[in-house]
């Protein structure tokens, strides 16, 4: 099977063709937004981080923005920093340029304020969009795709239908030789032994267990009771009782194939096949992690219904809750009928076909309704 995508200089294939306007720090975020408002074809990455971070969080923010910019759906990049922020704009720009992607950087305090920066960036962005628009979609084998998976606004149906359907689509792509990534380490708690068992080596299995333990320790060290935070109030109303129950349903979105590696948040998997990136269950920064990992189409199962998409990557909303589907058709792209639960491979094949259409340009509901702006960055803290 094939799809129509945009070829990139590093050999990857995009499903969208955006010029990204990426502020390194919140102080440059309004400027980035203004530049993007000026130039059609650009997409800003609106976030509120980039300063007062611990060294670990700073390194994470730097690599996340760099790898986000390297997502194949982005044709060219404008980076905007403030100047006094601790972010490594030069390192980020160099990393992007190394992959052959056009990148320009602007420092507000050097250029001389908002108006001059917006003017300069607008001029550059206009040219970048013009150049990007000359790249035409070509037919590629579907193994050039990389899928991502998210679940949010979960209820019992997410584990029964939504996530297994996504897992079935993952299995199809991974079996063919394509790549797929999932995340949400919080929602491995209580199910990590099942993931570890699927690891390619015992060492990778141990790493999965260690990543989950590290996440859980953050709650234990602070004396925090995770109940009521995750599962959320909405999850509990939807029938999910504990994090263990939620996790056992959540991991099915990763399918059943061998897990090749687990990576830190913001890293770009170097291994093929199915991989995991560390990250929170919190949807917005989790979507960022998978976009930074290189996912070019994402699935998002939601029992209770959530509109959230992702700035650079089309997100296909999946629900197995019939009431939610009827109520929120504006936001949900794909319905899994639980009456057909025993035929999950067939449902996965239908979802896979939908993903190929989306990869080729069909707009998702989150894209059409502009629900794909605010994802943000994950930080562990403390913030200084």
């Amino acid at each position: 099977m094939s799809f129509w995508g945009y070829p990139r200089p590093d050999g990857s294939v995009g499903t969208r063709n955006y010029v990204a306007i990426i502020p390194t720090v919140v102080c440059a975020t309004p400027t980035a937004r203004q530049v993007s408002d000026n130039v059609k074809g650009t997409v800003p990455f609106l976030h509120q981080q980039g300063c007062a971070l611990t060294p670990d969080d700073l390194a994470m923010a730097n690599r996340t923005l760099m790898n986000l910019a390297l997502n194949p759906n982005i044709a060219a990049v404008i980076l905007i920093s403030l100047g006094c922020d601790p972010m490594d704009i030069d390192g980020i720009a160099a990393g992007i340029a190394r992959q052959g992607k056009p990148v320009e950087k602007l420092v507000i305090q050097e250029v001389g304020g908002t108006i001059k920066t917006v003017e300069k960036a607008t001029t550059i962005a206009r040219q970048m969009v013009s150049d990007a628009s000359r790249v035409l979609r070509q037919e590629f084998d579907d193994t050039k795709l990389m899928y991502g998976a998210e679940c949010g606004g979960s209820d019992t149906t997410s584990g029964l239908g939504g996530n297994p359907a996504i897992g079935a689509a993952f299995d199809i792509l991974v079996k063919k030789g394509g790549r797929a990534v999932f995340s949400e380490t919080t929602e491995f708690i209580g199910a990590e032994h099942l993931l570890a068992r699927r690891a390619v080596t015992p060492e990778v299995g141990d790493q999965i267990t260690w990543f989950v333990r590290r996440y859980e320790e953050r709650f234990l060290e602070r004396g925090v009771d995770m109940r009521g935070t995750n599962p959320t109030k909405g999850n509990i109303q939807g029938g999910l009782t504990t994090i263990e129950e939620k996790s056992l349903g959540a991991i099915s979105k990763g399918g059943s194939e061998t897990i090749q590696e687990i990576y830190e948040y913001g890293e770009r998997p170097t291994k093929g096949g199915l991989t995991i990136v560390d990250g929170p269950g919190f949807d917005a920064p989790s979507l960022t992690a998978m976009a930074a990992a290189g996912a070019t189409v994402m699935f998002f199962s939601t029992g209770r219904g959530t509109p959230l998409g992702s700035p650079f990557v089309p997100v296909i909303k999946v629900t197995a809750n019939g009431v939610t589907y009827e109520k929120m058709k504006d936001n949900i792209d794909f319905y899994v009928n639980l009456a057909e639960k025993d035929h999950m491979a067939d449902i996965g094949a239908k979802l896979y076909a939908e993903a190929l259409q989306v990869a080729s340009g069909k707009q998702t509901k989150a894209e059409i309704l502009g629900q794909d702006r605010d994802n943000g960055l994950f930080i562990v803290g403390p913030v200084a």
Partner: protein, 101 residues
Amino acid sequence: MERKAIVLNSKDNVATALADLASGDTVALEIDKKPVSIKLVSPIQFGHKFSLANIKAGTPILKYGEVIGEATQDIKVGEHVHVQNVASTRGRGDVVKAVAK
């Protein structure tokens, strides 16, 4: 006929409702392809769980054939199984804190 509830694994001691069910309803289930019927003693909302057996406090609750938490009180067969009678044993910083004191 549409299933009113589902048991995901033969080891499970709970079933999940696939429709809103009333207290007193008798629900027909299939466990390991064998028919089982459970009379509900609480109303069970769509997506919520009910017990397949009498469960003693402290017993693990099993769904997907895996442990999802522990009964915090005795649970009767057909009773609603949720946060009022089951607790997670993971991410419990509150327990760690209480032990430290």
